[in-house]
């Protein structure tokens, strides 16, 4: 009985996957024929099924860019980048789209080791890190086996040190995977969707106006209170804004 249920579920899943592939192809054809508005509709239709892929977000971002909706295109490029951080095309188009953003934020320099660390963590997806962690763990176990049953001291020495290294790789890629996963799940970053947003000093309309940001800017969400979110800009400035003025990536 259970087996039958599983089979049906598997068939259904593959069927929907086929449907999405067909829709994607249709949307791509529309895009190629310069019918950007129609292609946007079809891309969104794919995403409505709660299935995603970096290609869909990237192509949707392109379609938005072509219809001059730069903010939406930035949002979708960011989403694509989240799923596929090392894709060069996505980074390039995001950079082009970001030129339409009014605000120029000077990023805080930060310590170079931290920057390297972050760029290392962000260079791969959570799945890649997870597979990396598993792979290195298995190799570690093999090394451990060699260490235990080796007869000569040379083999023992080599396997000991490589085993140490591998267990470190395992642990760090595990933690990277966890970090990437939390980015995917928590949606800490967001794009400003309203043309201009005034940032308040406190989560209420009466708060002092601190500064004004414009649409398309990427901000980091640091806190939440009712309908207000505390955000932090790349230059370190912080303030509160209404929830509906930004869209989580």
């Amino acid at each position: 009985m259970k087996q039958l249920f599983n089979t049906i579920l598997a068939i259904l899943l593959t069927a929907t996957a086929f449907a999405q592939a067909d829709l994607l192809q249709k949307a791509n054809e529309l895009y190629t024929r310069d019918q950007f508005k129609q292609s946007i509709d079809v891309y969104n239709q794919i995403l409505m099924t709660n299935m995603e892929s970096p290609e869909v977000y990237y192509n949707l971002g392109n379609a938005y860019y072509k219809t001059k909706q730069y903010t939406l295109s930035i949002l979708n490029y960011e989403r694509a980048k989240l799923l596929s951080p090392d894709d060069e095309d996505i980074s390039f188009n995001l950079q082009v789209a970001n030129q339409h953003v009014v605000d120029s934020i000077q990023e805080l320099p930060g310590i170079f080791i931290v920057r390297w660390w972050n760029s290392l963590v962000n260079s791969q997806t959570t799945d890649t890190w997870a597979i990396c962690s598993i792979g290195s763990f298995i190799v570690f176990l093999v090394m451990l086996g060699f260490y235990f049953f080796a007869k000569t001291s040379d083999v023992k020495r080599i396997t000991f040190w490589s085993g140490c290294l591998l267990i470190m790789v395992t642990i760090s890629s595990w933690s990277f995977a966890a970090k990437q996963k939390s980015r995917l799940v928590n949606h800490d970053y967001a794009i400003v969707m309203q043309p201009t947003v005034t940032i308040k000093s406190s989560p209420s309309e009466k708060g002092t106006n601190l500064f004004v940001i414009h649409e398309g800017l990427k901000v980091r969400i640091t806190d939440k209170l009712g309908n207000w979110l505390e955000i932090r800009l790349a230059d370190g400035n912080k303030g509160w804004l209404p929830t509906d003025s930004i869209e989580r990536i």
Binding site: E52, E55, F92, N93, V96, T126, D127, L144, G145, Q180
Partner: protein, 608 residues
């Protein structure tokens, strides 16, 4: 002689023809007159003619005429003598009734040939009372003026009017504005003083040249005859949308007035005149300017009707040679306001700002003529290039729509220019960076996408942890199994050792009994027996066939060390010595026993 005469006749004939062709016969008269008014009708002729046939003048009274006059002039310019003469016939006529009349052409004979004049249209309007009375009506008018001693002349008699040919226009459409001065016939005008021109704010203006000397023509306005002088003619191009007001035109006229003083004796005979300043102001004019309908993207502000001609001075050039593309826009409209049309040059071409040549004439028909744009560019590299057709979009106010004129595409073949070999400068090949012409996003990804539920990832799933756990379990199982095997293999050696000792001890059991009871002879016999029995079992050789040689050789074959074999032989010797010649034997029973047990143990371990 005859030939000469013939030539002369031919020449004379030609000259005669030429003269005959130059005959001009014109009729002149006023356009507008009042009924009962006298006027001149004159016929002018450049040759002496005869038999003037007058047209039908039944609508007019011929008061006098014809009176003839003749004038001639001789001009000598750079030795060229030209003689012009004119003969005129003048009639004085008077209109009988109101209406529009056409005077048919008159005809005249010159040297037997008949020439016809032009025809004339004359409008006769209702005569004003003072008009009808002619000069004698002046005093009546004078009294009117005396009633206004400040010298202000009634608006009916003197006014300025700005006439525009249209008041509802599109933005950029040209309007002809004429400033006219209307003077009633009985107002003697002496001259003008301060003239304040309207500023024409909101318009781009172009003045039409008219003679500085104002010439007056007769015109009917509101059923009254006026002397009308054109003061200014301007072409206006509205630059704003909405109702634009043209400011009034102000002019101060100097009018001569007769002052009559009743009390003086001479005053009845001599009139006193004074010059009065009369300031006249025109009514403001409102022009409604409509915006152009949906403008095409490449529209640059031209309004009118134009034609476009594009020429290129050469289509085969060498690189680094200049090429000129000339666009000539001709027609009528706001020509001087036209921006140079954009031409799309290949990006490798070096181009310069276009040169604009304005050949426009402002006339009563508006601004017309042509504007030429010269684009100079230099192809820097060889190849075949095409400059796409130049499009020029303008708004045609008469058809109310945008029209496009375009040229043919221009093909340019650029050949490699000669390098200046003679120059002392060392040629350095300059490398060029790839120029980025445009910036755009990269194209969409066409490859097959791998879909997965949003927010899902391999990390953190059951499978992820299971792989860890399973691999750990796998390792543990491997470890345990391996350990056990090692242990087992170590045990086998131990057991063998144990078993070997056990066999040896079992064989020597009998001997050990005799050892304890200290029965020497029986002990050695038992040891010998045990050894031979063991060797027979181990080497699978019957006891009867066993000899010392055979035993040692087969033991050596089984890779037993020679020392052990020697030791075995020594033990056997010792036992035999002890049995048969106890005196010669120096060892003890214990030594023999241990030696035999040890040797057998070694064999048990090494012989499989």
């Amino acid at each position: 002689m005859i030939i000469k005469l013939k030539a002369l006749i031919v020449l004379m004939f030609v000259g005669f023809l030429a003269m005959a062709d130059n005959v001009q016969f014109t009729m002149e008269g006023p356009d507008v007159i009042a009924a009962g008014e006298q006027f001149r009708l004159s016929f002018t002729l450049t040759e002496n003619g005869s038999d003037l046939q007058l047209p039908d003048l039944s609508n007019f009274d011929v008061l006098m005429g014809p009176s003839t006059s003749q004038s001639s002039s001789i001009q000598i310019i750079n030795g060229k003598t030209t003689q012009t003469s004119s003969f005129s016939y003048i009639f004085i006529l008077r209109a009988k009734k109101e209406g529009k009349f056409t005077i048919r052409p008159a005809s005249i004979k010159i040297n037997g040939k008949t020439y016809e004049s032009n025809s004339l249209n004359i409008q006769v309007v209702k005569g004003q009372p003072q008009m009808a009375a002619g000069q004698s009506a002046q005093p009546g008018n004078q009294q009117q003026q005396d009633e206004t001693p400040t010298g202000i002349i009634s608006k009916d008699n003197l006014f300025v009017h700005i006439a525009v040919d249209k008041t509802n226009v599109f933005k950029g459409e040209q309007i002809l504005a004429t400033v006219k001065l209307y003077i009633s016939q009985n107002v003697p005008l002496n001259g003008f003083d301060e003239v304040k021109l309207p500023s024409y704010e909101g318009f781009w203006t172009k003045e039409i040249n008219i003679p500085t000397q104002v010439s007056f023509t007769r015109e009917v306005y509101n059923g009254k005859i006026y002397q009308v002088g054109t003061l200014k003619k301007t072409i206006l191009f509205p630059q704003q949308i909405g109702a634009i007001r043209i400011d009034p035109f102000e002019i101060t006229c100097l009018v001569r007035q007769r002052v009559r003083k009743q009390q003086g004796f001479f005053d009845d005979f001599f009139d006193n005149y004074r010059v009065v300043k009369a300031k006249v102001v025109s009514d403001p004019v409102i022009i409604n300017v409509k915006n152009l309908p949906n403008q095409p993207a490449n529209y640059s502000g031209a309004v009118g009707n134009f034609s476009l001609l594009g020429t290129i001075d050469k289509s085969n050039v060498k690189s680094n040679e200049a090429v000129t593309l000339k666009l000539n826009i001709s027609g009528s409209g706001n020509l001087t306001l036209i921006n140079p049309p954009k031409i799309e040059l290949p990006t490798d071409f070096e181009s310069y700002e276009p040169k604009t040549t304005d050949k426009t004439i402002a006339s009563n028909n508006g601004l017309s003529g042509s504007v030429a744009f010269e684009y100079l560019f230099i192809p820097r590299f060889a190849g075949n290039f095409t400059i796409p057709a130049v499009q020029f979009v303008f708004f045609n106010p008469s058809s109310h729509q945008f029209e496009t004129r375009s040229t043919e595409p221009f093909n340019i073949r650029v050949e490699k220019g000669k390098d200046d070999g003679g120059s002392a400068v060392v040629n350095s090949y300059s490398k060029e960076d790839v120029r980025m012409i445009g910036k755009d996003i990269r194209f969409i990804k066409q490859n097959k996408a791998k879909f997965k539920p949003s927010g899902s990832s391999f990390y953190g799933t059951f499978e992820f942890y299971m792989i860890y756990i399973l691999s750990l379990i796998g390792f543990a199982v491997f470890y345990i199994l391996n350990r056990k095997k090692i242990k087992e293999s170590a045990n086998i050696a131990l057991i063998r050792n144990k078993r070997a000792n056990k066999v040896a001890l079992k064989r020597l059991k009998e001997a050990s009994v005799f050892l304890k009871s200290n029965q020497a002879e029986k002990f050695y016999e038992a040891v010998i027996k045990a050894l031979w029995g063991y060797l027979s079992d181990k080497l699978s050789i019957p006891v009867a066939d066993l000899s010392r040689q055979k035993t040692s050789s087969s033991l050596l074959e089984k890779e037993i060390e020679p020392e052990v074999v020697t030791e075995l032989m020594k033990i056997i010797d010792d036992c035999e010595f002890a049995r048969y010649a106890p005196a010669a034997f120096s060892g003890t029973m214990k030594e023999v026993y241990d030696g035999a047990a040890r040797v057998m143990g070694i064999f048990e371990k090494q012989i499989k």
